[in-house]
Amino acid sequence: MTAAGAAAPLAPLSRDSQLAAEIKGLVAGGERDVARERYGELVAHQQRRAVRIAYQYLRDVHDADEAVQDAFIKVFTHITSYREDRPFEVWFTRILVNACLDLRKSRSRRLRWAVPMSSTGDVPPAEPVTQEQTPEQRLVSRERANEITEAVESLPARQRTVFTMCHLAEQTTAEVSQALGLSEATVRVHLFRAIRKLRRLLERN
Protein backbone atom coordinates (compact mmCIF):
# COMPACT_ATOMS: atom_id res chain seq x y z
CA MET A 1 0.00 0.00 0.00
CA THR A 2 1.66 3.20 -1.13
CA ALA A 3 1.31 6.52 0.59
CA ALA A 4 -1.68 8.54 -0.47
CA GLY A 5 0.42 11.67 -0.70
CA ALA A 6 2.16 10.30 -3.78
CA ALA A 7 -1.10 10.19 -5.71
CA ALA A 8 -1.65 11.60 -9.15
CA PRO A 9 -1.78 15.40 -9.50
CA LEU A 10 -5.17 16.83 -8.68
CA ALA A 11 -7.38 19.17 -10.62
CA PRO A 12 -6.89 22.97 -10.34
CA LEU A 13 -8.19 24.37 -7.08
CA SER A 14 -11.89 25.08 -6.95
CA ARG A 15 -13.60 28.30 -5.99
CA ASP A 16 -14.36 26.85 -2.56
CA SER A 17 -10.70 26.01 -2.05
CA GLN A 18 -9.81 29.62 -2.76
CA LEU A 19 -12.52 30.78 -0.39
CA ALA A 20 -11.22 28.46 2.32
CA ALA A 21 -7.72 29.86 1.83
CA GLU A 22 -9.11 33.37 2.17
CA ILE A 23 -10.92 32.42 5.41
CA LYS A 24 -7.75 30.89 6.75
CA GLY A 25 -5.95 34.19 6.07
CA LEU A 26 -8.68 36.17 7.81
CA VAL A 27 -8.59 33.95 10.90
CA ALA A 28 -4.81 34.11 10.99
CA GLY A 29 -5.03 37.90 10.72
CA GLY A 30 -7.41 38.09 13.69
CA GLU A 31 -10.45 39.07 11.60
CA ARG A 32 -12.59 36.31 12.97
CA ASP A 33 -15.94 38.00 12.46
CA VAL A 34 -15.28 38.64 8.78
CA ALA A 35 -13.96 35.10 8.44
CA ARG A 36 -17.16 33.77 9.94
CA GLU A 37 -19.26 35.71 7.47
CA ARG A 38 -17.26 34.36 4.57
CA TYR A 39 -17.50 30.90 6.06
CA GLY A 40 -21.27 31.14 5.81
CA GLU A 41 -20.86 31.24 2.03
CA LEU A 42 -18.63 28.21 2.09
CA VAL A 43 -21.15 26.31 4.22
CA ALA A 44 -23.92 27.21 1.79
CA HIS A 45 -21.87 25.92 -1.17
CA GLN A 46 -20.89 22.63 0.45
CA GLN A 47 -23.94 21.91 2.54
CA ARG A 48 -26.08 20.01 0.06
CA ARG A 49 -23.24 17.73 -0.93
CA ALA A 50 -22.34 17.22 2.72
CA VAL A 51 -25.81 16.13 3.78
CA ARG A 52 -26.04 13.72 0.85
CA ILE A 53 -22.80 12.04 1.87
CA ALA A 54 -23.71 11.99 5.56
CA TYR A 55 -27.20 10.68 4.91
CA GLN A 56 -25.86 7.95 2.67
CA TYR A 57 -23.59 6.86 5.53
CA LEU A 58 -25.91 7.18 8.46
CA ARG A 59 -29.41 6.69 7.00
CA ASP A 60 -30.79 8.82 9.82
CA VAL A 61 -31.70 12.42 9.34
CA HIS A 62 -30.82 13.55 12.88
CA ASP A 63 -27.49 11.77 12.90
CA ALA A 64 -26.64 13.12 9.46
CA ASP A 65 -27.62 16.61 10.60
CA GLU A 66 -25.38 16.29 13.63
CA ALA A 67 -22.45 14.89 11.65
CA VAL A 68 -22.62 17.70 9.10
CA GLN A 69 -22.79 20.35 11.81
CA ASP A 70 -19.87 18.79 13.66
CA ALA A 71 -17.83 18.65 10.48
CA PHE A 72 -18.47 22.29 9.55
CA ILE A 73 -17.68 23.48 13.07
CA LYS A 74 -14.52 21.41 13.18
CA VAL A 75 -13.43 22.76 9.80
CA PHE A 76 -13.75 26.36 10.96
CA THR A 77 -12.04 25.80 14.28
CA HIS A 78 -9.14 24.05 12.50
CA ILE A 79 -9.09 26.23 9.40
CA THR A 80 -5.53 27.34 10.11
CA SER A 81 -4.36 23.78 9.48
CA TYR A 82 -5.93 23.73 6.00
CA ARG A 83 -3.32 23.43 3.25
CA GLU A 84 -4.11 25.86 0.48
CA ASP A 85 -2.43 23.72 -2.18
CA ARG A 86 -4.98 20.93 -1.64
CA PRO A 87 -8.65 20.90 -2.67
CA PHE A 88 -10.87 22.03 0.18
CA GLU A 89 -13.47 19.42 -0.79
CA VAL A 90 -11.03 16.59 -0.09
CA TRP A 91 -10.08 17.96 3.32
CA PHE A 92 -13.67 18.67 4.23
CA THR A 93 -14.89 15.27 3.06
CA ARG A 94 -12.29 13.54 5.17
CA ILE A 95 -13.47 15.45 8.26
CA LEU A 96 -17.08 14.73 7.39
CA VAL A 97 -16.48 11.02 6.88
CA ASN A 98 -14.68 10.84 10.22
CA ALA A 99 -17.62 12.62 11.88
CA CYS A 100 -19.98 10.08 10.30
CA LEU A 101 -17.86 7.15 11.42
CA ASP A 102 -17.73 8.53 14.97
CA LEU A 103 -21.50 8.86 14.98
CA ARG A 104 -21.97 5.36 13.63
CA LYS A 105 -19.80 4.03 16.42
CA SER A 106 -21.70 5.93 19.08
CA ARG A 107 -25.00 4.92 17.54
CA SER A 108 -24.09 1.23 17.61
CA ARG A 109 -23.10 1.63 21.27
CA ARG A 110 -26.42 3.38 21.91
CA LEU A 111 -28.44 0.73 20.10
CA ARG A 112 -26.95 -1.98 22.26
CA TRP A 113 -28.94 -0.56 25.14
CA ALA A 114 -31.97 0.75 23.30
CA VAL A 115 -35.26 -0.96 22.69
CA PRO A 116 -35.81 -1.29 18.92
CA MET A 117 -38.78 0.74 17.73
CA SER A 118 -38.70 0.87 13.96
CA SER A 119 -36.34 -0.48 11.37
CA THR A 120 -36.98 2.28 8.89
CA GLY A 121 -35.99 5.40 10.83
CA ASP A 122 -37.92 8.62 10.90
CA VAL A 123 -37.88 9.44 7.22
CA PRO A 124 -39.47 7.14 4.69
CA PRO A 125 -37.14 6.00 1.92
CA ALA A 126 -37.38 8.49 -0.88
CA GLU A 127 -38.42 7.44 -4.30
CA PRO A 128 -37.67 9.12 -7.58
CA VAL A 129 -41.24 10.34 -7.95
CA THR A 130 -42.69 12.29 -10.79
CA GLN A 131 -46.12 13.84 -10.82
CA GLU A 132 -47.19 11.64 -13.73
CA GLN A 133 -46.67 8.35 -11.87
CA THR A 134 -49.64 6.14 -11.19
CA PRO A 135 -50.02 4.56 -7.72
CA GLU A 136 -48.71 1.25 -9.13
CA GLN A 137 -45.67 2.95 -10.59
CA ARG A 138 -45.04 4.72 -7.32
CA LEU A 139 -45.21 1.42 -5.49
CA VAL A 140 -42.73 -0.15 -7.90
CA SER A 141 -40.44 2.87 -7.57
CA ARG A 142 -40.58 2.66 -3.80
CA GLU A 143 -39.75 -1.02 -3.83
CA ARG A 144 -36.88 -0.44 -6.19
CA ALA A 145 -35.58 2.41 -4.02
CA ASN A 146 -35.68 0.09 -1.02
CA GLU A 147 -33.78 -2.58 -2.93
CA ILE A 148 -31.10 -0.11 -3.92
CA THR A 149 -30.81 1.28 -0.40
CA GLU A 150 -30.48 -2.20 1.05
CA ALA A 151 -27.92 -3.18 -1.58
CA VAL A 152 -25.74 -0.16 -0.79
CA GLU A 153 -26.10 -0.80 2.92
CA SER A 154 -25.02 -4.41 2.47
CA LEU A 155 -21.62 -3.30 1.17
CA PRO A 156 -18.69 -3.66 3.57
CA ALA A 157 -17.86 -0.38 5.29
CA ARG A 158 -14.74 0.42 3.28
CA GLN A 159 -16.40 -0.38 -0.06
CA ARG A 160 -19.38 1.72 0.85
CA THR A 161 -17.18 4.63 1.84
CA VAL A 162 -15.24 4.52 -1.40
CA PHE A 163 -18.37 4.06 -3.50
CA THR A 164 -20.13 6.94 -1.75
CA MET A 165 -17.21 9.26 -2.18
CA CYS A 166 -16.46 8.35 -5.79
CA HIS A 167 -19.94 8.00 -7.11
CA LEU A 168 -22.18 10.13 -4.93
CA ALA A 169 -19.75 12.81 -3.80
CA GLU A 170 -18.25 12.77 -7.31
CA GLN A 171 -14.65 12.69 -6.21
CA THR A 172 -11.90 11.16 -8.29
CA THR A 173 -10.10 8.07 -7.05
CA ALA A 174 -7.03 10.26 -6.47
CA GLU A 175 -9.03 12.61 -4.25
CA VAL A 176 -10.59 9.71 -2.36
CA SER A 177 -7.17 8.17 -1.82
CA GLN A 178 -6.03 11.45 -0.28
CA ALA A 179 -9.13 11.81 1.84
CA LEU A 180 -8.98 8.27 3.21
CA GLY A 181 -5.23 7.91 3.39
CA LEU A 182 -5.28 4.87 1.08
CA SER A 183 -3.37 4.24 -2.11
CA GLU A 184 -5.22 4.95 -5.31
CA ALA A 185 -4.90 1.28 -6.32
CA THR A 186 -6.64 0.25 -3.10
CA VAL A 187 -9.40 2.76 -3.71
CA ARG A 188 -9.92 1.34 -7.19
CA VAL A 189 -10.09 -2.21 -5.86
CA HIS A 190 -12.74 -1.23 -3.31
CA LEU A 191 -14.69 0.63 -5.96
CA PHE A 192 -14.61 -2.35 -8.33
CA ARG A 193 -15.76 -4.72 -5.64
CA ALA A 194 -18.53 -2.39 -4.56
CA ILE A 195 -19.88 -1.99 -8.09
CA ARG A 196 -19.60 -5.69 -8.83
CA LYS A 197 -21.57 -6.51 -5.73
CA LEU A 198 -24.20 -3.87 -6.45
CA ARG A 199 -24.60 -5.14 -9.97
CA ARG A 200 -24.97 -8.70 -8.76
CA LEU A 201 -27.59 -7.70 -6.20
CA LEU A 202 -29.57 -5.30 -8.33
CA GLU A 203 -29.42 -6.86 -11.79
CA ARG A 204 -30.58 -10.20 -10.38
CA ASN A 205 -33.77 -8.47 -9.35
Partner: protein
Protein backbone atom coordinates in the same frame (compact mmCIF):
# COMPACT_ATOMS: atom_id res chain seq x y z
CA UNK B 1 -14.27 -11.81 -31.93
CA UNK B 2 -15.39 -12.88 -28.47
CA UNK B 3 -11.86 -12.42 -27.09
CA UNK B 4 -11.96 -8.75 -27.90
CA UNK B 5 -15.09 -8.08 -25.85
CA UNK B 6 -14.51 -5.72 -22.95
CA UNK B 7 -14.24 -7.35 -19.54
CA UNK B 8 -16.65 -6.51 -16.74
CA UNK B 9 -13.90 -4.81 -14.78
CA UNK B 10 -12.92 -2.71 -17.74
CA UNK B 11 -16.53 -1.71 -18.26
CA UNK B 12 -16.67 -0.59 -14.63
CA UNK B 13 -13.51 1.43 -15.15
CA UNK B 14 -14.98 3.04 -18.21
CA UNK B 15 -18.14 3.92 -16.33
CA UNK B 16 -16.64 5.44 -13.21
CA UNK B 17 -12.92 6.07 -13.66
CA UNK B 18 -11.37 6.19 -17.09
CA UNK B 19 -12.11 7.40 -20.56
CA UNK B 20 -12.23 4.73 -23.26
CA UNK B 21 -9.16 4.51 -25.47
CA UNK B 22 -9.51 4.90 -29.22
CA UNK B 23 -9.44 1.10 -29.72
CA UNK B 24 -12.06 0.54 -27.03
CA UNK B 25 -14.21 3.31 -28.45
CA UNK B 26 -13.98 1.69 -31.85
CA UNK B 27 -14.98 -1.67 -30.39
CA UNK B 28 -17.93 -0.20 -28.48
CA UNK B 29 -19.18 1.43 -31.66
CA UNK B 30 -18.96 -1.85 -33.53
CA UNK B 31 -20.07 -4.31 -30.80
CA UNK B 32 -23.72 -3.90 -29.85
CA UNK B 33 -23.36 -6.38 -27.01
CA UNK B 34 -20.55 -4.52 -25.23
CA UNK B 35 -22.28 -1.21 -25.81
CA UNK B 36 -25.48 -2.60 -24.28
CA UNK B 37 -23.54 -3.93 -21.27
CA UNK B 38 -21.95 -0.55 -20.75
CA UNK B 39 -25.33 1.20 -21.09
CA UNK B 40 -26.90 -1.19 -18.59
CA UNK B 41 -24.14 -0.59 -16.06
CA UNK B 42 -24.38 3.16 -16.49
CA UNK B 43 -28.11 3.12 -15.96
CA UNK B 44 -27.70 1.01 -12.85
CA UNK B 45 -25.13 3.38 -11.37
CA UNK B 46 -27.26 6.40 -12.25
CA UNK B 47 -30.22 4.72 -10.59
CA UNK B 48 -28.24 4.12 -7.40
CA UNK B 49 -27.01 7.67 -7.43
CA UNK B 50 -30.45 9.15 -8.11
CA UNK B 51 -32.03 7.07 -5.35
CA UNK B 52 -29.45 8.14 -2.80
CA UNK B 53 -29.71 11.76 -3.83
CA UNK B 54 -33.51 11.72 -3.76
CA UNK B 55 -33.53 10.16 -0.29
CA UNK B 56 -31.12 12.76 1.09
CA UNK B 57 -32.93 15.66 -0.58
CA UNK B 58 -36.27 14.47 0.77
CA UNK B 59 -34.83 14.31 4.26
CA UNK B 60 -33.05 17.65 4.03
CA UNK B 61 -35.44 20.23 2.70
CA UNK B 62 -34.14 23.72 1.85
CA UNK B 63 -35.70 25.04 5.08
CA UNK B 64 -33.86 22.43 7.09
CA UNK B 65 -30.59 23.37 5.41
CA UNK B 66 -31.18 27.04 6.26
CA UNK B 67 -31.78 26.12 9.90
CA UNK B 68 -28.72 23.94 9.93
CA UNK B 69 -26.58 26.73 8.52
CA UNK B 70 -27.93 29.15 11.12
CA UNK B 71 -27.09 26.69 13.90
CA UNK B 72 -23.56 26.21 12.60
CA UNK B 73 -22.93 29.96 12.41
CA UNK B 74 -24.53 30.58 15.80
CA UNK B 75 -22.28 27.94 17.30
CA UNK B 76 -19.23 29.49 15.71
CA UNK B 77 -20.20 32.90 17.06
CA UNK B 78 -19.71 31.60 20.58
CA UNK B 79 -16.59 29.66 19.69
CA UNK B 80 -13.50 30.87 21.50
CA UNK B 81 -15.39 33.09 23.92
CA UNK B 82 -15.23 32.31 27.62
CA UNK B 83 -18.36 30.70 28.96
CA UNK B 84 -20.60 32.79 31.24
CA UNK B 85 -20.67 31.33 34.70
CA UNK B 86 -23.99 31.59 36.49
CA UNK B 87 -23.55 31.78 40.25
CA UNK B 88 -25.27 29.03 42.14
CA UNK B 89 -27.45 30.24 45.03
CA UNK B 90 -25.35 30.59 48.16
CA UNK B 91 -25.94 28.18 50.95
CA UNK B 92 -26.52 25.02 48.90
CA UNK B 93 -22.97 23.81 49.32
CA UNK B 94 -23.13 21.32 52.13
CA UNK B 95 -19.39 21.46 52.59
CA UNK B 96 -19.31 25.14 53.43
CA UNK B 97 -21.05 26.78 56.36
CA UNK B 98 -23.78 29.12 55.25
CA UNK B 99 -22.60 31.92 57.47
CA UNK B 100 -19.51 32.36 55.34
CA UNK B 101 -21.66 33.23 52.30
CA UNK B 102 -23.98 35.75 53.90
CA UNK B 103 -23.20 39.43 53.51
CA UNK B 104 -22.99 41.77 56.51
CA UNK B 105 -26.20 43.55 55.43
CA UNK B 106 -28.13 40.29 55.37
CA UNK B 107 -26.82 39.42 58.81
CA UNK B 108 -28.09 42.68 60.25
CA UNK B 109 -31.51 42.16 58.71
CA UNK B 110 -31.70 38.62 60.03
CA UNK B 111 -30.52 39.73 63.48
CA UNK B 112 -33.14 42.48 63.54
CA UNK B 113 -35.84 39.99 62.50
CA UNK B 114 -34.86 37.58 65.27
CA UNK B 115 -34.73 40.39 67.83
CA UNK B 116 -38.14 41.61 66.66
CA UNK B 117 -39.59 38.15 67.05
CA UNK B 118 -38.20 37.78 70.57
CA UNK B 119 -39.42 41.21 71.67
CA UNK B 120 -42.82 40.61 70.08
CA UNK B 121 -43.10 37.22 71.74
CA UNK B 122 -42.25 38.58 75.19
CA UNK B 123 -44.48 41.62 74.81
CA UNK B 124 -47.35 39.46 73.58
CA UNK B 125 -46.94 37.16 76.51
CA UNK B 126 -47.01 40.01 79.04
CA UNK B 127 -49.75 41.88 77.20
CA UNK B 128 -51.96 38.77 77.25
CA UNK B 129 -51.30 38.26 80.96
CA UNK B 130 -52.18 41.84 81.86
CA UNK B 131 -55.15 42.23 79.60
CA UNK B 132 -57.04 39.17 80.53
CA UNK B 133 -55.41 37.92 83.65
CA UNK B 134 -56.45 34.41 82.69
CA UNK B 135 -53.51 32.09 82.10
CA UNK B 136 -54.02 29.58 79.32
CA UNK B 137 -56.01 31.88 77.05
CA UNK B 138 -53.89 33.75 74.56
CA UNK B 139 -56.65 35.60 72.80
CA UNK B 140 -60.35 35.86 72.64
CA UNK B 141 -61.92 36.81 69.40
CA UNK B 142 -65.45 37.96 69.65
CA UNK B 143 -67.94 36.94 67.04
CA UNK B 144 -69.73 39.76 65.39
CA UNK B 145 -72.84 38.29 63.97
CA UNK B 146 -75.01 41.34 64.44
CA UNK B 147 -73.04 43.82 62.39
CA UNK B 148 -71.46 42.11 59.47
CA UNK B 149 -70.04 44.60 56.96
CA UNK B 150 -71.34 44.17 53.46
CA UNK B 151 -69.37 44.55 50.25
CA UNK B 152 -71.15 45.56 47.09
CA UNK B 153 -69.67 44.73 43.70
CA UNK B 154 -70.19 46.73 40.50
CA UNK B 155 -72.68 44.16 39.20
CA UNK B 156 -74.79 44.50 42.29
CA UNK B 157 -73.82 41.25 43.95
CA UNK B 158 -72.96 41.42 47.61
CA UNK B 159 -70.73 39.58 50.02
CA UNK B 160 -70.41 39.78 53.75
CA UNK B 161 -67.23 39.80 55.76
CA UNK B 162 -67.45 37.60 58.73
CA UNK B 163 -64.90 37.50 61.49
CA UNK B 164 -64.43 33.99 62.73
CA UNK B 165 -64.26 33.59 66.40
CA UNK B 166 -62.32 31.12 68.40
CA UNK B 167 -60.92 30.69 71.75
CA UNK B 168 -57.81 28.60 71.96
CA UNK B 169 -55.16 27.90 74.53
CA UNK B 170 -51.39 28.40 74.06
CA UNK B 171 -50.80 24.68 73.74
CA UNK B 172 -53.48 24.34 71.11
CA UNK B 173 -52.06 27.31 69.22
CA UNK B 174 -48.55 25.84 69.20
CA UNK B 175 -49.97 22.47 68.18
CA UNK B 176 -51.66 24.06 65.21
CA UNK B 177 -48.41 25.77 64.28
CA UNK B 178 -46.54 22.48 64.33
CA UNK B 179 -49.21 20.81 62.24
CA UNK B 180 -49.02 23.62 59.71
CA UNK B 181 -45.21 23.39 59.53
CA UNK B 182 -45.36 19.65 58.98
CA UNK B 183 -48.11 19.97 56.38
CA UNK B 184 -47.62 19.66 52.59
CA UNK B 185 -48.01 23.38 51.94
CA UNK B 186 -44.94 24.12 54.02
CA UNK B 187 -42.75 22.01 51.73
CA UNK B 188 -42.77 24.77 49.12
CA UNK B 189 -41.17 27.09 51.64
CA UNK B 190 -38.41 24.63 52.48
CA UNK B 191 -35.88 25.94 49.86
CA UNK B 192 -36.37 29.47 51.17
CA UNK B 193 -35.90 28.21 54.67
CA UNK B 194 -32.63 26.57 53.64
CA UNK B 195 -31.36 29.71 51.97
CA UNK B 196 -32.12 31.86 55.01
CA UNK B 197 -29.45 31.96 57.70
CA UNK B 198 -30.35 30.52 61.08
CA UNK B 199 -30.35 32.75 64.14
CA UNK B 200 -27.44 30.87 65.66
CA UNK B 201 -25.41 31.30 62.45
CA UNK B 202 -25.63 35.06 62.58
CA UNK B 203 -22.94 36.63 64.68
Amino acid sequence: MKASHLSDDRLIELCVIDEASATEQQHLSACARCDARRGRLRRLLDEVSDTATAAADAAFTPERLVRQQARILAHLQHEGRPARVIAFPAGHGAHEPMVSRTRPGSRWIAAAAVAGLLVGGIAGRFGHDYSFGRPGLSRVIVARTAEQPELRASDGSTATIREVTASISDDEFLNQLEIAIDGPSAAALQPINELTPRSWEVR
